[in-house]
Amino acid sequence: VSRTGTPGADVSPNTGRRVRRLLRWYPPSWRRRYGDEFAELLLAEMAEQPSNPRRTINVMCNGLLARLTQAGLTSHELPPGDQMRSGLAALGCALAAFGAFAVAMLSQLATGWQWTSPQSASATAGTLILTVAIGCLALIGAVAVIPVAGLAARAIARRQPGLIWPTALAATSAAVLVIGTRHFQNGWPGTGGTGVHHLAVPGGLAAFGWASTLSVSSYWVHPGLLARFPLPEVAWMALSPLALAGVAAGLVMVVRRLDFPSRLLRYLTVLTAAASLIAVASLAGAASWVLGHGPGQAGLFRPGLVNAAGLAIMAAALVVALRAASGVLRACRAA
């Protein structure tokens, strides 16, 4: 903020700071386009009325709205190319959050099944649906990431700016996630036994899912019990979501900065639609267990508060994913 909003008026350092702080609610691309003129408007408004909490809240809310718009999640349409890239990035993040909670839920059920078969149809159906759905989502994720990684590698080889740091962030975070998970999966409470579910989810995979989602735990609201955990395990519970966020943030930045060929975009759009449908099935499976449990279920088959919270977060993530997917499909038709 370098000049006055009203001709002749001086801008105090304090006002300049307030304007800069308010501008930070908006995403960088919005600030590049509208930042200067919006700062001028704010300065003029502040010259007229120095303090106005409603104005502050209005700017904060619209700044967050601009961020959602940039993520392709509002009715404000972006140009088709931007809409597709933003929508795919938002969809990836939403499905990553959805997947983390779904894997946490399945790992709890899979661990229980290592010891004994569930006594209720809801837990049985929930486990089987989640197993198939998460397997399909993992497969879709793999076939989506491979061509995007190839495109990113070619762009980096051509020295396209702005790709190295996000790629390094995603790769480092993924490495931390895998190495940490491999280390902590040694503490998996399963048996490696021979139940029916063991055929679908091998012990190693169940242990990996368990260790990667240790952070999804009700122990966070029981600090006394959490304090009895070994310190490295608590540190991992705090670090692993950050690592997952690092993977997602890196991939989002890469996806937003790549120029996708139209064929690849169409391919990703088909995968997007398929992943959304499977996520719906997955949520139905999780809900059938969490909401349909009876009094006969015990131990790991008894859904707790953390499972209900997980189900709510999965539902919210799915709403975001479906919204992003519909934006991607609309943009694909408009392109």
Partner: protein, 115 residues
């Protein structure tokens, strides 16, 4: 627009920003203005003070739809002007509003008498 359907113009897709968008377009119909001049003009003719965030959300939507455009300027307070598409959209939207207002006033007058 499908056969037989009424074209309400692009502003109906603005949702809750249709109101601010109409006010902005109406203000720009009188000539190019920057953000603060728009705020003051709208306050004067409509009695509504658009908050800065709302104003710029509507401005960016209108610009994205090609209904307004930025005027090249060295001033940091960038002015905006109506495009031909914007003028047409405003005309359609105001005609719609006038139709609604006329129906409402006619029915009020018939049932409740004139004020």
């Amino acid at each position: 627009v499908p056969h037989g359907a009424v074209d309400h113009g692009p502003l109906v897709t603005f949702g809750r920003y249709a109101g601010p968008a109409t006010l902005i377009l109406s203000s720009l119909a009188g000539g190019a203005k920057h953000g603060y001049a728009l705020t003051k003009d709208i306050e004067q003719f409509a009695g509504v003070r658009l908050a800065p965030g709302t104003l710029y959300e509507a401005l960016s939507r209108l610009e994205g739809q090609g209904l307004i455009e930025a005027v090249p300027s060295d001033d940091r307070r960038r002015p905006y002007q109506l495009t031909t598409a914007g003028a047409q959209a405003l005309r359609v939207h105001l005609a719609d509003q006038r139709r609604v207002a006329e129906v409402g006033l006619r029915r009020l007058s018939k049932t409740w008498g004139s004020a």
